[in-house]
Amino acid sequence: MEFALSEEQLMMQDSVTRYLADRATLDTVRGLIAAGPVHDAGLWSGLAGLGICGLLVPQEYGGAGMTLLDAMLVQEVLGRHVVPVSFIPTSVLAPLALLAAGTAEQKQKWLPAIAEGRMQVAVGLSEACGARDGAGVTVAGAKLSGRALFVLGAADAAITLLCSSEGDVYAVEQGAAGLERTSLRSIDDTQCLGELNLHDVTAELLPAGEEDVIPRLLDAGRVMLAADILGAAQKMLELAVAYSLERKQFNRLIGSFQAVKHLCAEMAAELEPCRSLVWYAAHAYDAVPEESRLMACHAKAHLAEVGRFVARSSTEVHGGMGFTDLLGLHYWFKRIGCNRQLLGGPERVREEAARVQGWI
């Protein structure tokens, strides 16, 4: 019985942290996204050098063959540093989709490239958790038509995985005839979102999929987004405490005012159990599959709520400075706000949790 991270996991998290500490400072990030949403290839190749990009890719395809728990720990660090890389679609959702539904040939074609960090994959799952503006992708004669919104991942992704309205997963190559991609720009320029319009686009089915390929991908994606919020919110709490121990008003450190102390205490009290919830959800994904869906829903929904509370409260503790661009606190604020809505807002996700439990 041990509910804790292993030595190896702590070392891996630490190595990513150390890599990012120098290379993904706030000033660096600020510069990278100055012109709009970005997946930064430089940081990506650095992460590839650490073996991070192929974390979930089996060793036979050149990856590390690790679990979602490990990937989650990486994502927590990426969130903590608001790093502009598309780890979730390329290194988590794409390998999981290929492993669950891809042919041997498809795996051979794409997994090694992913593991080496040579290829980006975008993933469109938004319509599986609530289609807006009439979006949706249909299949006719093995060709895809329609529209996919809020596709996760870099603009230059070599392939995009899309879910059809029948629940199958297709791979579409960049530059395919009839495919048009537009960038969507969110509050958070550290994450890339795209809109795909498709007119009879040639696509490759991932054929081995069982019924729940897409739900499983959603589970994984939601755990990862929860982990990202966890990292970002933890950082915002730490920044708030640190600021309150520097800033004086009325001849006192503001951190000595009960109102400020209690706000920080409430953030900590809300956030700390979230860590265990996200750990468990990630652990359950591989180790307790029958609980996976429920735990992923709870992790995503609860982190969305707690993340919003922490983002707002930390900003309040920072006073006017928190509202300016000077300290850059808003990069975390926006990342948390963006994650809240991706792959289903909290109410929607909780409703799924009710269904999973047979309550309705």
Binding site: S183, L184, S186, I187, Q249, F250, L253, G319, G320, R348
Partner: protein
């Protein structure tokens, strides 16, 4: 209890409506707080002439010179809002400096500055807050030292909106460094063209630069630029700070936003179903509607108290705290209702409402913090409204000891 308006007021309302309708072609484009356009200046002159702005300011200072009539003021505000007509100038010069001068200025200052400010000829910015003096404004450090007939000013201000366009600044500076902190401050008026002033735009989390930082390096200002006496600046500023706080938290703004969300939820769909069909979103909307209505009726109570010259007590003190929070929550609901569409921003395709919901969500958080943080508001409510004690002064000056 009678919410009807008596016939003379009904007639006045009709006059305002007729005026707005008749002069529709003169409405200037909605102005930001910066330099007014020629069309705006003309409109302002017309409004003053009608008594629809600067209503109670004496004619000798460029106002309309009417008697105070709170109901007429309310009617004017209501009808301008209803028609979507641009109101009179509303920058910090008109809303803060003019009342200050009327209360504390010399005759010469009133005669000189008020007409020019009302007409839009002179644009002002406000120099109060400093990086180290926010909630605790009285700790401000910008220093003015005597040099012959002049003050030499050094220091920094922040949160100075329109500073890059303003002609003049009304500014708090420390002139008596050895006096107790509330008694060492003076209130100065000087030109933003004075050498040694540097204005840097201050970008906020919204991505816009709604404010500026202003740096003073050996800025030379004549000593007669002072309003009130030396060392009286804190009292001069406080006379108008209450006006600023009064402007925040207007429940009519919340009501307008609520209506926009109702429309949004009627029109937008997810999986083909109207958002209004979602019981969770709908219940949140209704909870906020309760609050909006309560604050609107609270506003009616304040209006009545104002007419009767009564002290509305707590009903007044809570407006900023509750109103700003309400606006923030409304924006949050709109974002949640829109889901992934709700995170779009800037120039994105599929952006709704020009990104106003996200911008409000952030800017309203700024308002919760600014103009007296939520924490300061709660201090005020508990101390002034409920008669609870101030925090005891610490025994040692530092709060850092464990």
């Amino acid at each position: 209890m009678d919410l009807a308006y008596s016939p003379p007021y009904q007639q006045f309302r009709q006059e305002v409506q007729d005026f707005l309708e008749k002069h529709r072609q003169l409405w200037p484009p909605r102005s930001s707080l910066g330099k007014p356009s020629a069309a705006m200046k003309n409109w302002q002159a017309l409004l003053i002439e009608q008594g629809y702005t600067a209503r109670t300011i004496p004619a000798e200072y460029g106002g309309y010179g009417g008697e105070p009539d709170i109901l007429k003021s309310r009617i004017i505000a209501e009808e301008f809002t209803r028609a979507g007509a641009p109101g009179g100038l509303a920058g910090q010069g008109v809303s803060m400096l003019v009342p200050t001068l009327l209360e504390m200025g010399s005759e010469e200052q009133k005669k000189h500055w008020i007409p020019r400010t009302l007409s839009g000829e002179v644009l002002w910015c406000q120099g109060y807050s400093e990086p180290g003096a926010g909630s605790d404004l009285a700790s401000l450090q910008t220093r003015a030292t005597e040099d012959g007939e002049d003050f030499i000013i050094n220091g920094q201000k922040i949160w100075t909106s329109t500073a890059h366009e303003a002609d003049m600044i009304f500014c708090l500076v420390r002139t008596e460094p050895d006096a107790p902190r509330h008694q060492g401050i003076s209130y100065l008026l000087f030109s933003m063209d004075t050498p040694g002033i540097e204005v840097r735009p201050l970008q906020t989390m919204t991505g816009l630069a709604e404010f500026n930082e202003v740096f003073f390096t050996d800025v030379r200002v004549p000593m007669h630029s002072i309003v009130g006496e030396r060392g009286q600046g804190w009292q001069v500023a406080n006379a108008t700070l209450k006006h600023e706080r009064g402007m925040l938290g207007d429940p009519d703004i919340a009501a307008t936003r609520l209506n926009a969300i109702v429309q949004l939820m009627q029109e937008e769909t997810v999986d083909g179903t109207r958002l209004m069909e979602n019981p969770l979103l709908r219940d949140r909307l209704l909870q906020l509607q309760s609050r909006v209505l309560a604050m609107q009726f609270n506003g009616l109570r304040l209006l009545t108290a104002q007419i009767q010259g009564a002290d509305p007590g707590i009903a007044r003190l809570i407006v900023k705290l509750q109103g700003c929070e309400l606006n923030h929550q409304l924006a949050a609901l709109a974002i949640d209702a829109l889901g992934e569409l709700g995170i779009l921003y800037q120039d994105s395709p599929r952006l709704r409402n020009k990104g106003a919901w996200q911008r409000s969500y952030m800017f309203d958080l700024g308002l919760i913090i600014g103009g007296g943080t939520a924490q300061i508001q709660k201090n005020i409510i508990s101390e002034i409204g409920l008669g609870m004690p101030r925090e005891p002064k610490p025994a040692a000056a530092s709060g850092g000891a464990r």
